[in-house]
Symmetry: C2
Subunit: 385 residues, 2 copies
């Protein structure tokens, strides 16, 4: 049975990258690898849309998120953590792990944060500061919340943090290369991402871009850290090197994936994601299904409410085990209640068609009533537009 991966990470890997990763391995402290690292760095800067260096870590995205706490802050610093899903919650968990007092902004799962809330807290912080000398040094947000398919208005938030000493840290793990993200233009201080989403290679690498404001914060950071110490990675990448043995073959694969993005052009890649996700949303509407986030959807992954009487866990399991089509179910409080269709990275229009046919088949098997073929038709119309 052929497998179709429509999950929000890992996403399918293009054959060019698979081939490159299967080449005999080379040593990382060689001019040969340094040349690859230089190309990868330039490719990442172009996707991150930054002139600053992008640090390359061997870890999952969570490792880079941890570094964005431990490598930036110091004991006594405060932070704002915006959470509207499983991955937003992680910012608060990370701050708690390092004893950083944080002001939580908890958003209903399926909704996006109102940037004004962040503004109010930052303004109040300026006043409170006169009392205790402790300041908010970082605002942690999620661009695309993978667990709910919500996209956050990062541009508006960056407008606010620009005028405050706090850095804006954006989890763009499932957003990078899938939705608009103009790091330098919008003034985002820190962007965290991973390899297994829009960048189209297997999991195992994480990336961080840092503004000058963030680099300054990193210079004075006093929380304990070692492997995720951004200063060490910054010093190394300036010399096309890494502080510790990197995941050599993943980086070689990434170089091929970045070449594909470069050839297509990042703006066209984003437009393709927009078209694919809009087609998926149209298909859901045609099937009479409701989106979890109708007002704040992301083009990376679409979360759909399972219809009355259909357990989404069973739906997802049946599609995967009987038809080879892997979508994602709901996590935590959304378990059994939603399913998620990814449109990121190397997920093609044909993959989506196969996914939609299978979804219709299994929804019908599970007793959901709808006009057969309506979803596929709406999807195809959207893809052809």
């Amino acid at each position: 049975m052929k497998n179709y991966l429509l999950t929000p990470g890992p996403t399918p890997v293009p054959p060019e990258a698979l081939d490159a990763m299967a080449r005999p391995i080379i040593h990382h402290r060689t001019p040969q690898f340094q040349a690859i690292l230089k190309e990868v760095e330039e490719g990442l800067q172009s996707v991150f849309q930054t002139k600053g260096k992008v640090l390359i870590l061997t870890s999952s995205g969570t490792g880079a998120m941890e570094g964005a706490v431990s490598s930036l802050l110091s004991p006594g610093d405060k932070a704002i953590c915006v959470s509207g899903g499983k991955f937003g919650e992680r910012w608060g968990e990370l701050c708690a792990a390092y004893g950083i007092e944080f002001i939580p902004i908890d958003v209903e799962w399926g909704k996006a944060v109102d940037p004004e809330k962040i503004k109010e807290i930052l303004q109040a912080d300026g006043i409170r500061n006169m009392d205790n000398g402790r300041r908010i040094k970082a605002v942690y947000v999620t661009l695309c919340e993978t667990s709910t398919g919500v996209a956050t208005d990062i541009k508006a938030i960056a407008e606010i943090t620009k005028n405050h000493e706090a850095v804006l840290v954006v989890d763009a793990i499932s957003a990078l290369g899938a939705v608009p993200l103009r790091t330098d233009e919008w003034g985002i201080d820190v962007v965290v991402s991973g390899s297994q989403k829009g960048l189209m290679i297997p999991p195992g690498l994480a990336f961080i871009s840092l503004s000058d404001k963030a680099l300054k914060l990193a210079d004075s950071s006093k929380l304990p850290k070692y492997y995720f110490d951004f200063k060490a990675y910054k010093k190394s990448i300036d010399k096309n090197d890494t502080p510790y043995t990197p995941a050599v073959n993943l980086i070689i694969g990434l170089n091929e994936a970045l070449k594909i993005i470069k050839k297509d052009g990042i703006d066209n890649v984003i437009k393709r994601h927009q078209k694919h996700a809009a087609a998926v949303r149209a298909a859901m509407k045609a099937l009479g299904l409701e989106l979890l986030a109708p007002d704040a959807y992301s083009d990376a992954v679409t979360a759909v409410k399972s219809p009355e009487g259909v357990d989404s866990a069973k739906l997802v399991k049946t599609m995967r085990d009987t038809h080879g089509v892997a979508m994602a179910g709901g996590q935590a409080q959304l378990k059994g209640k939603i399913f998620r269709i990814a449109t990121m990275g190397y997920i093609t229009a044909d993959d989506l068609k196969k996914g939609m046919e299978t979804l219709e088949t299994v929804l019908a098997e599970l007793g959901y009533k709808f006009e057969k073929g309506a979803g596929v038709k709406a999807l195809e119309k959207g893809l052809a537009s």
Copy 2:
């Protein structure tokens, strides 16, 4: 030009593992991947020679070393850090990063630690404890110090730590699968390793085994951590899962590499390393070259003093750039003074022959006088024995 990798990590990757890593990627939260993880876990337990679970991290070996500090210790705990090279030094750096007071045992580079020194400090600690209540909770050592080619007598050290409340933590990154290491039998509490040495796959994965004594310490550990929190990995691996998205294709490649080790048998694999390393040492003697560690050599990597008047950095660079043979030079204080020939993992007898021929060629070019062919002859004799 065909490249020969005789470096102490990354080491060559067998084609079975390369092929497996180039297969279309699968999702990690599936029965399909769980079955692979279960096989990998069993394979690792067999190589680690432990009945305990082996944790699988997506990071370089340094990440797992960090976890062996941050996930085991608490503020106020003390440690012993044995250092006789670049990687031994890392234990002290890690303790310092987390504010852990440590007693350094600095060994001359090229020598192994005398276990009696550890015994003396641990005994004195028991007496001092009555005064201040602070105790040595961990002894950090390196089995094969990659920078010097020294092997440490871990069995003897484990005999000492067994009778003390401190756990013995062994960096076996370049030792695992290359030299004898009987985790349970010898009573080693924590063994740290990585993927790109004896385990024959690319860098990007790290492994940790934990004894019951170490698990207990992890339970009460209060240093800040998140991504390297061993408790989360222990909880997950018990369910054939990982707490964060793992490096899926590296794990799939590892499964193939572990199958090769299983087929050969771990004892035969170790014997092959012993034979290869002994042949390399015999070849060096035949060439009139001196070992850096004649009294404490490791079978994973052999460090050789560059002859008078020959810069080892130039020797290594010429072999690599002109002949495609990659050996390692010296690091830190040994830069330019030694070269290192790895015998670990998938480095074959033929690779070693090619390496020795090239070494003779370039040594002659650089003006060193020796009996031409003597090194190759001694190597071949050793390999045939």
